[in-house]
Structures are given as structure tokens and as C-alpha cells.
Amino acid sequence: MTTTMPDDFKNQLCQDYTSAVDGMSLHTYPGPGTTGDNDSGIHRNALVWTESNFGVSTTSTTFVNLIGHYSHIGLWEGGTFRQGIECPIDYDAPADVTITVVHEAGQE
């Protein structure tokens, strides 16, 4: 099927999402559900998104000297939970762990 959605509308849809996500948390198994459960207690990192391009925007953040076992990341807007993404992270010794989230809006 031919995509008929103009890029500026993809960008608008993408930015609607990214404007509502400004923080990342780490969650232990079984993950955050729809309310942000099983938060690891590790300080949430602030997120800054790139400008949407062709409906795609990215953000990266690094958890420094991270130790432990986590099953999901959580995405937040302030204190409001927005979404969890499965993302297994397992470190027995300290590691700097950089997590990149890519968001894409479009038509298929």
C-alpha cells in the first residue's frame, strides 16, 4: 500500500508522543505494567528528544555504574507513567549502560 501521510504530519504525531515523555526509570521483573510498578528505585534519568525527522525521534540516557538485573524501562511524564518497554539489563559488576529509545510515527 502506498503511504500517503505527509512527513510533517508524521512529525506532528511523533512529537505528540515525545512531548509527553521526559523521564526514564528501570524496572525489575515482571515490569511496570500500566502503572509503573516494580520501579527499581534508581534515580530516573531526564530525557531530551531529537527533533522529529520523517516521523522519527530518538533519545539516549546513561545509567552510570549500574549493577543489577532489570527487565523493563519505564517512560514517564513527570510523575505520570506513560509506557514500559521490555529491555533486559543484567550486570553483576558496575557498568555504564546507555539506553536509546527510538519513537516512530507513520502509516503502513
Binding site: 500500500m1 500517503t4 501521510m5 512527513d7 504525531l13 511523533c14 508522543y17 525527522n53 520523517f54 522519527v56 530518538t58 524501562i73 517512560l75 509506557q83 518497554i85 521490555e86 529491555c87 533486559p88 539489563i89 543484567d90 550486570y91 553483576d92 559488576a93 558496575p94 557498568a95 555504564d96 549502560v97 546507555t98 539506553i99 536509546t100 529509545v101 527510538v102 519513537h103 516512530e104 510515527a105 507513520g106 502509516q107 503502513e108
Partner: protein
């Protein structure tokens, strides 16, 4: 008057297309693992001949093999170490390893009258770790007594004259996109070796790294003061919905087109892509070949 049976209900059907509007989020992980050999707490000791391994002076010495407890997040990672003292002998910097080091690639640093960098492979080992050459009870002595010959393919596959000095940074990288082992001294590539992508296992569980120290008995070899491993590309995505990798393009003025690759897309050299431009410089679709 007669009754007329109602018309049967039928599913409406037409020619309209079903369109899907999607929003997708993906998360990828990169790790940077570092250890300065103040202790061996962050390592699993696989062999320790006569309990000789030590971290005296902040460098790994003795005769044995250690691997870090953790792995990188991707297959495409580099392992780097800093040289402390550099006595005669051989030391291996290991990457792409199985938990027991029965499969691996390594940079072997030979410090001798003929200083060399060797790339070696551990590809033909068939014994288990517990009963094998790297079992702690048996340890490196088997290796030192010549059982190394049992390593079917544990021979230098390529060698290059190269000396090292204290403070040098040495590095090994299985360049995953090109399936080539590359070794470096102070950031400059010393030699490389293309390898069959399938000759040793890769993926989660086969991304361990570490050191085989003092390979030649009574010749301690190069000692490292630190080791680190770091992913150089995002891991495979963990996706909240099926994801289709794509290439994002940015068209510059004139006849030059810059291709900005999506962060999780894989680019294969020589692959063809079509750039769809909405700009005025290169309107329409433009086929490109990636170098």
C-alpha cells in the same frame, strides 16, 4: 399477499484500502564495562596455576585465565587493555568468548626478541569446562604441559611484528558487520583477519571477555593495569511492537545526498536503497548504493 423473506445479511464489501497509523517505540542498550585490576572480584577465575594470579601493583600477574563476570550488550564490541609492565612472555586479550573460554578470539601479545601481535582462535575445543583444560582443579598446568596441542585451531592465524611499551593501549575487535578480527596498538590497527561468521558462536552467552595471563610458564609476559569492553552499536531492539528498520535521509543542496541511517537499522555495504526526497534539490526517488 405473500410474505417476502428478508434479504440475507451479508458482509459489506468494497474496494477501500485498510490503512494503519502506527506509533512505535524501541529501546536499545549499549554497555561500557571497566575494571582496573585492583582485585579480581569482578572476574571469574578459570585457571590459576599454583594459585599464582595476583593484582599486585594494580596489574594482573601470574599464570592463569580470568574472564569478566559480565558481557557486552551486542556482538559488535571492542575490548581494550592498558599495558603495565612488559616482561618477556605471552599474554592474551580475549573476546567473543564462551563462559569457559573454550571458544574465543584473542590478541596474543608476544614480548620477546621477536615482538609480535598474533590473532589466535579458540575454535576447535570439544571438552567441557568442568573437566577440561580450564577447569580450576586442572588449570593452566595442562596448558603448560603441552595440552595446547589439543586445541585444534588454537594457533596464530596471523602475526605482525609489534612491540609494546608500558602505558600502551592494546585492543581487539570482532568487527561484526565485516566479520573481521582487528587488533590495535594505541588506536592504530596493527593487523586484521577475516573470519567465518559462524566459526564460533556469537550472541548472548558468547560475549565474554578477559585475559589469559602468562601463557609461557616462567615468562610472565605483558601485564595489564586495566581492561574495558564497550559496545559500539546499539543492541538489537527490544520492541513494543513489530519494527521495520528504515533509512532516514537528509538531502543536502546541490547534487550531494547525505544518508542518515536510522539508529537501529543495519547497513550492509553495497546494499541498494532508494531515497525519497521531498526537497527541491533532488525531487522524487533516487536509487543509491551504500559504500
Amino acid at each position: 399477499m405473500r410474505a417476502v423473506a428478508p434479504r440475507p445479511l451479508t458482509t459489506p464489501h468494497g474496494k477501500s484500502a485498510l490503512t494503519k497509523i502506527f506509533q512505535r517505540s524501541t529501546a536499545t542498550v549499549r554497555a561500557h564495562i571497566f575494571d582496573s585490576f585492583t582485585t579480581l572480584d569482578n572476574f571469574v577465575v578459570l585457571a590459576n596455576y599454583l594459585n599464582s594470579l595476583d593484582t599486585t601493583g594494580g596489574q594482573l600477574g601470574g599464570y592463569g585465565a580470568v574472564r569478566h563476570k559480565d558481557q557486552c550488550a551486542t556482538d559488535n564490541y571492542r575490548v581494550k587493555a592498558v599495558v603495565g609492565s612488559a616482561a618477556n612472555g605471552k599474554t592474551r586479550l580475549v573476546t567473543c568468548a564462551s563462559p569457559g573460554f573454550d571458544r574465543f578470539y584473542a590478541l596474543e601479545i608476544e614480548n620477546s626478541a621477536n615482538d609480535q601481535f598474533h590473532i589466535v582462535k579458540g575454535t576447535g575445543l570439544s571438552w567441557s569446562t568442568s573437566a577440561g583444560i580450564f577447569g580450576v582443579a586442572i588449570g593452566l598446568i595442562n596448558l603448560l604441559l603441552g595440552f595446547f596441542s589439543s586445541f585444534v585451531l588454537l594457533i596464530p592465524w596471523i602475526s605482525q611484528p609489534q612491540a609494546v611499551l608500558s602505558g600502551d593501549v592494546v585492543e581487539i575487535w570482532w568487527d561484526e558487520p565485516n566479520s573481521t578480527i582487528r587488533v590495535y596498538r594505541n588506536g592504530g590497527q596493527v593487523t586484521s583477519l577475516p573470519v567465518d561468521r559462524e566459526e564460533i558462536p556469537h550472541g548472548d552467552g558468547y560475549r565474554y571477555f578477559g585475559v589469559m595471563q602468562g601463557i609461557t610458564y616462567l615468562s610472565p609476559g605483558v601485564k595489564f593495569t586495566s581492561i574495558e569492553a564497550y559496545d559500539i552499536a546499539p543492541a538489537d531492539s527490544h520492541v513494543d511492537a513489530p519494527y521495520v528498520a528504515r533509512v532516514v535521509t537528509t538531502i543536502k543542496v546541490g547534487n550531494r545526498a547525505a544518508v542518515q541511517v536510522h539508529p537501529i537499522a543495519r547497513v550492509i555495504a553495497g546494499a541498494s536503497v532508494t531515497v525519497h526526497s521531498t526537497g527541491t534539490a533532488l525531487p522524487g526517488a533516487l536509487p543509491l548504493r551504500l559504500g
